[in-house]
Symmetry: C2
């Protein structure tokens, strides 16, 4: 690993169990839903408005990253995140879309 790089599972290593566990949490689902709106963009982690403590935020990022839902990058001036859209779609076709839609249908 070079500076700024965090560990991420490879696409072949992605497992639906940890992905579903990560998505079972409403705050993490919200982050994934917001990232899914602009899947080709990186977003500053600090820009997510979650009603949780700093340590909880850090834990949420780690859970999302270790499940393979997001790529996270330390750019020096802050942590950035983007959805692993292609990897997720390749391994779990339709899953992220269905999960995001499930929440949107609640309103």
């Amino acid at each position: 690993m070079t500076g700024g790089e965090l560990e991420h599972p490879r696409v072949e290593e992605l497992d639906v169990g940890p992905v579903l566990l990560a998505l079972a949490d409403g705050n993490r689902r919200r982050v994934v839903a917001e990232l899914a709106e602009r899947p080709d963009e990186e977003r500053l982690c600090a820009s997510f408005d979650l009603p949780v403590s700093k340590s909880s935020r850090t834990r949420h990022w780690r859970v999302l990253r270790e499940a393979g839902l997001v790529y996270q990058r330390d750019a020096g001036n802050g942590l950035y995140m983007r959805l692993r859209k292609e990897d997720l779609e390749r391994r779990f076709p339709g899953l992220i879309q269905a999960v995001v839609a499930a929440d949107q249908g609640r309103g």
Copy 2:
């Protein structure tokens, strides 16, 4: 409640969080996948071959039932289960299909 009836959430009460949490477990996912193969049939709970203790099985049935994934019925001669296919499809279109396919794609 009359005899043999267990408590189940109503379709309007189904929430994607508990559903994803229930599906995050491989044994429970396997049960849902097997039920999804014949969604209109009730199946004897004892007929599922899970590598877990009896108390774990009971817990898995409860988690599935309370999340709203299955209807469970005590028929006197045993507990029966069926997938709440229509309810799940109405509230979370495509979700169960995507989760079942995600596991099948592993092989």
